[in-house]
Subunit: 340 residues, 2 copies
DNA sequence: GTGAAAGCGCTAACAG
DNA sequence: CTGTTAGCGCTTTCAC
């Protein structure tokens, strides 16, 4: 491996001079600068980030932890975060927790051990608290995306899930639906709680009764065992004319189950959900969704983080950005002429 | 920051002993091991990867470079690669080149500078050659995914694009189509070349003539300026009854343009493409596609890479894995009763 | 079983 | 403008 000492020797200067040329720091005569640069090229020198970070105590490295890399919501978040990071000369690395606390813990370890300058985290849920406390304890600045975690104060970028829930109910009611069920993610995830609350408020605003049996708690992640959801669908009575899913994955699974029961969407049941299906579903937007500004989650989250890193300010007051949502009608919801 | 020296001092041993406890190397009495472990916990010690990698000259770090993080094909590749890497105790970091050579070059620099143990690359195209040569020059093992690059010999995992192209033409012909156009990615990308060849062979097999004007060369990436494609669509004569797109992004753009011209898919024109649209489009598979085993691209690619790293064998013979494709019919292709 | 010394590649601080 | 010294946190080598 070529080091600055190899360069120094060949260019007949000291290692320090080489370092100065690389970092464009300090005053150096144009002549030696050119000579050093030439030797660096000749020897195909590549600086060693680790050695540099070790002495500088900073890595210029940001991490983004998401819970599902195949989910178009998160990949769009990733792109936003990456754009913001690049603009500030930071590198961004991704980790994928799969809604799994132990994978998340692994990534937090990796992040801690690699001394990242900051982290953007979409936490798996409230139980992510110990991981975040660990980051705080080790003074690694972080920003939460999409989900907040009770017990930890920090910058956070959220979607207006509450408003989204109300909008979805309003929309369904305006089309004649009155029996509206809700399959949600785990109540250990803040966005699930807010979405449920929006749903409840929507019902109330429209003078609709809340039925316990109309609500089901599942998981936001890709789970394989759908027995519980299947059982729930069998048990709902009267069967709803519309179902709201807590996110895009749940919508997918719900639709599969409904079709498995021989039901058609939307002629038998209408289905809609939170989160859109990404650019690759735009040609034929089947699902009625509450779209979120995914790119902005990443971009603005990264900006908050970079701001703190630059100012070396890791304390209150914390920012809380709440991004608006937008209802995008698709073909998965139909008008209900008369309620059964 | 807590270092092994802090631990050593408090546990009344030398730093070396602490190091041995951490790495479970060398013989250590159970008593001191326990004491050291206890102190490490008390002091919330986190090992410093950089310092360790600096002396060990290995990072346990793999990179995956993809060309479009929002493309479901690549995110599924990523998941496969991650699973394989984790199984072997390697960390996997992602980079996103956006089909952009200069972003790709930046990532290669970063990878080189951070001394990754290996890289999985979906290259932007043939012009990625210098980047790959750089990796080779610095003895960083790498495996190419999805695309090969003339001029560089290495392990590679490809899809059977040729076969896919023939299958697509066969399928269209079986439905009565004879005027089949092809919007392809850049001919500087190997998969585009193979797909074109499959298309040509498909035509030949079915006794269909090749018309120069039926082929268009665009880009696989999300490009904003669709003027060329628009012009091409205006110029084709006779207008095709079916269009094959070189990948999912091109299919998306083609459909937008066709609809912009007031045409309906599939009643006016049938459209199909290479690459599927990911799990989030499965509920309602609009597009007829040549699906690829995306997960296997990542998984098997990572395995090839890990194999080489473990054996410290970075020379010939190189492996070339060609994964089969599968035609998945959707609603975007219709039967053609009589050809105009 | 345990420790001391040296060095991985780099840069901050100080000299000159 | 340029060089010397010391040290970032860790592990290898060789003693004891």
């Amino acid at each position: 491996m070529v080091t600055i000492y190899d360069i120094a020797e060949k260019a007949k200067v000291s290692a320090m001079t080489v370092s100065r040329v690389i970092n464009e720091s300090g005053r150096i005569s144009e002549k030696t600068r050119q000579r050093v640069k030439k030797v660096m090229e000749e020897m195909h020198y590549i600086p060693n980030h680790m050695a540099r970070s070790l002495v500088l105590q900073q890595t210029n490295l940001l991490y983004l932890l998401i819970t599902d890399i195949t989910n178009p919501f998160y990949t769009t978040v990733a792109r936003g975060a990456e754009d913001a990071a690049r603009k500030s000369g930071f590198r961004l690395l991704f980790g994928n927790s799969d809604e799994n606390l132990s994978k998340e813990a692994d990534y937090i370890d990796t992040i801690l051990a690699s001394r990242a300058d900051g982290v953007l985290v979409a936490p798996a849920g409230d139980a992510s608290l110990p991981h975040l406390s660990l980051l705080r304890q080790h003074k690694v600045p972080f920003v939460l995306l999409d989900r907040e975690v009770p017990g930890i104060d920090c910058d956070v970028v959220l979607g207006d899930s509450n408003e989204g829930g109300r909008a979805l109910v309003d929309y369904l009611v305006s089309l004649g639906h009155q029996n509206i069920a809700f399959v949600n993610g785990s109540s250990t995830v803040s966005s699930a709680r807010h979405r449920l609350q929006g749903y409840l408020e929507g019902l109330k605003q429209n003078g609709l009764p809340f039925r316990e049996s109309y609500c089901m708690e599942a998981s936001f992640g890709m789970i394989n065992d759908l027995t519980d959801m299947e059982a729930w669908l069998s048990s709902i009575d009267p069967f709803p004319s519309a179902i709201i899913a807590g996110n895009n994955v749940l919508a997918l699974e719900t639709i599969r189950l409904l079709r498995g029961r021989g039901l058609s969407i939307p002629s038998d049941v209408s289905v809609c959900c939170f989160d859109d299906f990404g650019p690759f579903s735009e040609i034929d937007p089947f699902m009625t969704v509450i779209a979120q500004q995914a790119y902005e989650f990443g971009y603005q989250g990264a900006q908050l983080l970079l701001e703190r890193i630059k100012n070396r300010d890791f304390s209150e007051p914390w920012s809380k950005i709440v991004l608006p949502t937008e209802l995008k009608p698709g073909r998965s919801v139909a008008e209900r002429v008369h309620e059964s």
